[in-house]
Amino acid sequence: MTTTWTQRGLLLAALTLAALYLFPLYWMYVTSLKTGSEIFATPPAFVPIDPQWGVFQYVWGLRGMGRFLWNSVVIATGTMVLTAILGTGCAYVLARYRNIWIDIALFLVLMLQVLPASLMITPIFVGFSQLGLLDTPRFAVILALTAKTMPFFVILVRATFMSVPSELEEAALVDGNSRIGAFWFVALPLARNGILVSAILIFMQAFGEFVYSKSIIQAVDLQPASVGLNAFMGPNTTEWNNIMAYASIYVTPILAIFVLLQRRIVSGLTSGALK
């Protein structure tokens, strides 16, 4: 009996904490349903007095949000795939060797990310325009974004590979596998969960990317939802309820997927090799 009560207490505490932590999210939904002036009202209304449900349909129809979301998906998928392809091998080697060169590589990977995108965009834009990459703007954004997300991916996946015992691989080598074979048939399958989950995290990060897309993608047809959102946010066109409605439509599907997958995400990261 006592454990049940402890468990109930813990559950209650967990729910309270979650409610506190998720309040900003709730506020996004509530603000989207308020009228323009109600947003500025004091005291603030915790439940909109006159919820404007039509706002979602309005915002959806306003600028073809479907297309924006599709572009976000394209960019996020591309970034995820490219990051995974480039980053997995890198993480594998960084996990396998321990010497000064690996340290330097790790150091480089990390250090290259010090500046925010808003400061990196000018040189990247200049370089891309000289290479003609601006003609394929979504691809250009994927390239730039991959460079930004890779360090995170490498650090996560490196941890996963480190939990794959090197004895397993050595055994594979003795069995006549090549190094490629040992990587491909032994290490990779064992680290699969960690890689998948890290890739999903990269997808979600890339889904919200904004600075590169804004500057590199000039054709409205190819812009992702973050740029579409920003188009609402001018100094004289700030319709906060619409902005929040847009943001809600933008993040809700991905939030839903995330909440559904999260158990697998955490266990995928934690299980590593041996489960």
Binding site: L22, F40, C90, L115, V266
Partner: protein, 317 residues
């Protein structure tokens, strides 16, 4: 690698350089080097060159119309002298340190506390923990806009709540009071970063073998002792990774400044990365903007060196 194997491989390779190369791809370090070299080259091209561009620019006289070239008049350290003689420089650097330290500390402590909390066994723990991860998915732009509303002085909901429960009697102008503006951004940034701290730390906690705790419990260690003698030491690598990633994410934080305080009022919430952008794209003084960037790169190099040294220590120790 096994010595006898290497010997066999060596004998096989002797014949001709190409097959030697191919063999090394299949069996030796060549394969590993390839796996690292390609992504590294990619990173150097897409992140390294832009950094070099910034560093070079900090020694040049830059004009908005010469952005497309490397060839600009060379001015040596003039930009550095100019930046460090500006009265706002030291306060802004100080703000940057406060922002980074407070954000990382806040994210880490809350994240760690939550991660530990959710290791306890109660129904729904997994699902509720999942809910905390949503801030990871939220675009910075959206988070900035939301916190803008929550922290507003007159109609912000945070003030309303604090007043209702009697913690404050007067509204706090989070965004406009020079004593609070930096903390307004820190609050938002801690919220944003807690999720990733929590998930990585949860991963680290889960990888600690359970029998260690059981053994310690048998030895009569209490929860507090177990935490200090088992959890923390076992978590060293994870904590190192989390804190260094936190440093990078915090230094990259830009959207929140842009949407909550714009670095104001009177630079009270300005930090190096926002100021560098402001100099470059508000006053079109690209050289000074690049100078600040370069200073940041230097600082982070030092931090990264410390991180790398600490992971080496962990591996060998």
């Amino acid at each position: 690698m096994d010595i006898s194997q290497t010997a066999i491989a060596d004998r096989r390779r002797e014949a001709n350089p190409i097959s030697r190369f191919l063999a090394s791809m299949r069996d030796g370090r060549g394969f590993d080097i390839l796996l690292v070299a390609v992504p590294l080259a990619f990173l150097i091209a897409l992140s390294g060159l832009p950094l070099v561009y910034n560093v070079v620019m900090s020694f040049q006289q830059v004009d908005m119309f010469s952005l497309g070239t490397f060839w600009r008049p060379w001015v040596g350290f003039d930009n550095y002298v100019a930046v460090f003689s500006q009265p706002e420089t030291w306060p802004i650097l100080r703000n940057t340190v406060v922002f980074v330290v407070a954000s990382i500390a806040g994210q880490f402590l809350i994240g760690f506390a939550l991660a530990l909390f959710f290791t306890m066994d109660f129904p729904g723990a997994g699902y509720i923990r999942g809910l905390f991860l949503v801030s990871w998915v939220m675009p910075g732009l959206v988070v900035g806009a939301i916190f803008n509303w929550i922290l507003a002085g007159d109609f912000g909901v945070l003030n309303y709540v604090l007043k209702s429960i009697g913690l404050i009697s007067e509204n706090i102008f989070w965004r406009s009071d020079i004593a609070f503006s930096l903390w307004a951004v820190i609050i938002a940034n801690v919220w944003l970063g807690t999720a990733f701290n929590m998930i990585l730390l949860a991963v680290g906690l889960a990888s600690i073998p359970k029998d260690l705790y059981e053994a310690a419990a048998l030895d009569g260690a209490n929860a507090w002792q177990r935490f200090w003698t088992i959890t923390l030491p076992m978590m060293r690598a994870t904590i190192g990774a989390v804190v260094s990633l936190g440093l990078i994410f915090t230094l990259q934080q830009f959207d929140l400044f842009a949407s909550i305080t714009s670095g104001g009022p009177n630079n009270s919430s300005n930090v190096a990365q926002y100021w560098a952008w402001e100099l470059s794209f508000r006053q079109y003084d690209f050289a000074r903007g690049a100078t600040i960037s370069t200073v940041m790169i230097l600082v982070v190099m030092i931090a990264a060196t410390i991180y790398v040294r600490s992971t080496r220590h962990e591996v060998r120790g």
